[in-house]
């Protein structure tokens, strides 16, 4: 995974198109490419679910789409306009059409201001309507998200529950009548019962107002419920894109399958089929693995995965994967006898892994200029991320892929018998 490419982009009816998006933080040796050549598109009225672990760059992607943080390169086209090229004043105006809902509902509201004031604000900033009209609109919007303006309008965020605050945040985002709503983990801080209320609300609003949504979350079940299309992200790159029913029933990327396996099912009889949890943590994006970025945790990693970055390719209509060995073609997984998720991959130790100075990092031993990649707006044929060290012998079967993992106990725990 962790692949690039644009094979999954569609030609028609696209409202929002993001191509070769790159966002970097920091400088010098600590330059981190949080989003590394990500492309996706969202059709009008569609909900795109963006899933991945913490630190995979999904929130940064969301913020770059709303131009809250300018991408370092790449393009964000919205209704045919290139947003990254707009001047500041034009951008502000264009951005009213793309609004965001943030993760922590309580801290995203000003603790010292009343709820009604917070919701009126977007109209006041733009000077839309008279004072009474703004007030009336705010009250109507609050009501549409299930908040009684008479009861709650004067309250401070601290006087309300997390679910109510999230409703207020949604109301505030709707005040300028946006076309696109970017929801960044809107339910991850909420209890399951309240989470269901908010997900239903978002679905209703989407239908009533014809909203297009980018829904960012780490919970695959939540994403499946709200999305028309799902993109799985890992370490700044996309792994798999598809319609939820295809992607969840026939995951092609080993990472997608690992994420699905990790979901706790509320059913004591649901044996986990001898599948072990994915081991280890996300490697550091400061020094990402060469080739496929998932290879350090992938049970099927081969030499090719270290040498060559996989490109997005179609496995089925509207189902794309960036993997050299997709599960449906993988001889290990298609062997009907056993499910193979038992490979004891030792933990990737990014801090000490002598990986290549891949892509962004100005490694001390490489000249600074050459370690920067070509701008991702060039054709999707990437710089070969070939390791500068001699290739390791390829493990034929799933084996510890860390170079120094021999004497270390594997991180994974045996599943319960």
């Amino acid at each position: 995974m962790a692949g690039s490419g644009t094979a999954h982009l569609r030609a028609e009816n696209v409202l929002l198109r993001v191509e070769h998006l790159v966002v970097e933080f920091g400088s010098g040796h600590h330059r981190v490419r949080a989003v590394s050549d990500v492309s996706f598109d969202v059709a009008a009225g569609e909900t795109l679910g963006l899933v991945g672990e913490s630190g995979c760059g999904k929130s940064t992607t969301g913020r770059a789409v709303a131009l809250i943080r300018n991408p370092d390169s790449g393009s964000v086209r919205f209704e045919g306009t290139e947003l990254t090229a707009l001047a500041r004043a034009e951008l502000r105006r264009a951005r009213t059409k793309i609004q965001m809902v943030f993760q922590d509902p309580i801290s995203s509201l000003n603790p010292r201001r009343g709820v009604l004031d917070a919701v009126i604000d977007p109209l006041s900033v733009w000077g839309i309507g008279t004072k009474e009209e703004r007030r009336a609109k705010a009250r109507a919007t609050l009501e549409s998200v299930g908040i009684d303006p008479d009861d709650a309008g004067g309250r401070r965020p601290i006087e309300m529950s997390g679910g109510q605050c999230q409703r207020v945040s949604i109301a505030r985002a709707l005040m300028l009548e946006p076309t696109v709503l970017v929801c960044d983990e809107p339910v991850s801080a909420l209890d399951v019962s309240v989470q269901a209320q908010i997900l239903n609300l978002l679905d209703d609003l989407k239908r009533d107002r014809g909203l297009t949504m980018v829904f960012i979350a780490h919970d695959l079940a939540v994403v499946k419920n709200v999305s028309d299309r799902v993109a799985v992200m890992y370490l700044g790159k996309l792994c798999e894109v598809g319609r939820p029913d295809d992607l969840y029933h026939h995951p092609e990327h080993p990472y997608t399958e690992a994420l699905l396996t990790a979901i706790p099912e509320p059913d004591p009889g649901a044996a986990r089929n001898g599948k072990a949890a994915l081991s280890g943590d996300l490697p550091s994006p400061i020094n990402p693995p060469s080739g496929c970025r998932f290879r350090t945790r992938c049970p099927f990693a081969q030499q090719k995965c270290a040498d060559e970055e996989p490109q997005m390719r179609a496995m089925a209509p509207d189902h794309f994967v960036a993997c050299h060995f997709p599960l449906s073609t993988n001889p290990v997984t298609t062997d009907a006898t056993a499910l193979p998720y038992r490979a004891p991959v030792s933990p990737p130790d990014w801090a000490s892994e002598p990986g290549p100075p891949a892509w962004t990092v100005q490694a001390p031993d490489s000249p600074p200029e050459s370690s920067r990649v070509a701008p991702p707006s060039q054709p999707p044929n990437p710089q070969p991320a070939t390791p500068p060290r001699p290739p390791q012998p390829a493990p034929a079967t799933p084996q510890p892929s860390s170079d120094r993992g021999g004497d270390r106990p594997p991180l994974w725990i045996d599943p319960q018998p």
């Binding site: 009684d148 209320q197 706790p264």
Partner: protein, 380 residues
């Protein structure tokens, strides 16, 4: 350094005495606040056998965290009322003095907190936080404590433990920090481990790792464990028994398999049905529970779940149901239980009468405003 002198309670070795590890009887914990008495734990009783795992499930504000603090005796010093009995290995923890409790904390009963970043001291290296109790309580010297800490970190799956001992908490990822918290809790070999939302805020992949780790350690050390969570998915595969709490009370209690197979309490059913399922197709309408938990400071007549319950009848609003028994070890608190003839009739009646909670339960779209504040819960 010699171990600090304590009262030297004698706790029998695991397996050497009969009877359960932990017995909680009619535990009440209330906080005196400006709004009145908040009954956070209101008459909770259960027993936990040695080597068994108990899941405690409920929404925020259902009193599950206060329950764990009440069992430990870790409550604020003032404006708290606690009554009832907590008997651990035959000793009543509620009557113990602070020096006696210090013998219990860590050595006998340990707690894994929800948020490892705030539970760990940010300016003290991880190693010292682990060895602290080993040196003070167990009385190991510096070298032995260091070696034990390395072994502990290795057993919780931290690579290169020697190096990690020198790390500060901020240098570790969230999953690693939670592993360190678990290592600290396990350091003195407790007989009972309380894990309070140990995986909330972690990614699903890391959550699976941490839960597997807890289960493995629990089996290996034959500990009793109480796993507190708001997610029924987390406890489904990993507990022997489950307690469902609502507004400070136990509303259903059963062996895990029984609870999922024969759910009786409408609240448990509602919690289960509000979880988005992977096997449902997208845009399936979720069966949300309308409203939110009641204000614990308010005096409630009748069943506390009544304002949100799809099965609610007049009797529920007037009279609080007692804990009723259904089969082996299965108790619930409901007049119109799920799966019974009365329950089915009550639900059908409510759907016909277009009660919002019942309509939401059947997946009908209900105007949120009609359900958001069913009892004006928090208005002060």
């Amino acid at each position: 350094m010699s171990p600090r002198r304590g009262p030297h309670l004698s706790f029998p070795e695991v397996g050497s005495i009969e009877g359960p590890l932990l017995e909680v009887e009619d535990l009440h914990t209330s906080f005196r606040t400006g709004r009145g008495l908040v009954r956070a734990v209101d008459g909770v009783s259960f027993t936990l056998g040695r080597g068994r795992t108990l899941g405690v499930v409920g929404e925020s504000g259902s009193g599950k965290t206060v329950l764990s603090r009440s069992i430990m005796g870790l409550l604020p010093g003032s404006n708290v009322e606690r009554s009832g009995m907590v008997r651990f290995s035959g000793h009543d923890l509620t009557t113990m003095s602070l020096p006696e409790l210090r013998e219990v904390w860590g050595m006998q009963v340990a707690l894994v907190f929800q948020d490892p970043m705030t539970a760990l001291n940010p300016v003290v290296r991880v190693g010292r936080q682990i060895t602290e109790s080993l040196r003070l309580r167990v009385g190991l010297d510096r070298k032995a404590a260091g070696e034990t800490a390395v072994a502990l970190l290795r057993s919780v799956g931290i690579p290169e433990p020697e190096r990690r001992l020198r790390a500060y908490p901020h240098e570790l990822s969230g999953g690693m920090r939670q592993r360190v918290m678990i290592a600290i809790a396990l350091a003195c070999g407790p007989k009972l481990l309380l894990a309070d939302e140990p995986t909330t805020g972690l990614d699903v992949t890391v959550q699976a790792q941490i839960l597997d780790l807890l289960a493995a350690q629990q089996r290996e050390r034959h500990m009793g464990m109480i796993l507190i969570t708001h997610d029924l998915g987390v406890v489904a595969n990993r507990t022997d028994d489950i307690i469902v709490m609502y507004a400070g009370r136990i509303v259903e209690q059963a062996p895990t398999v029984e609870l999922f197979a024969h759910t009786r309490m409408p609240y448990t059913e509602a919690l289960l049905r509000s979880i988005p399922r992977l096997d449902e197709s997208s845009h399936t309408r979720l069966r949300a529970i309308p409203g939110r938990p009641p204000d614990l400071a308010a005096q409630v007549q009748g069943c506390r779940f009544a304002p949100r319950c799809p099965y609610v009848q007049d009797r529920c609003r007037a009279e609080e149901p007692p804990l009723r028994t259904a089969g082996q070890g299965h108790q619930f608190r409901c007049w119109y239980p799920v799966g019974s003839a009365e329950g089915d009739a009550a639900l059908a009646h409510n759907v016909a009468a277009r009660v919002p909670a019942a309509l939401a339960f059947t997946g009908t779209r209900v105007r949120d405003a009609a359900m958001a504040t069913p009892n004006g819960a928090r208005r002060t």
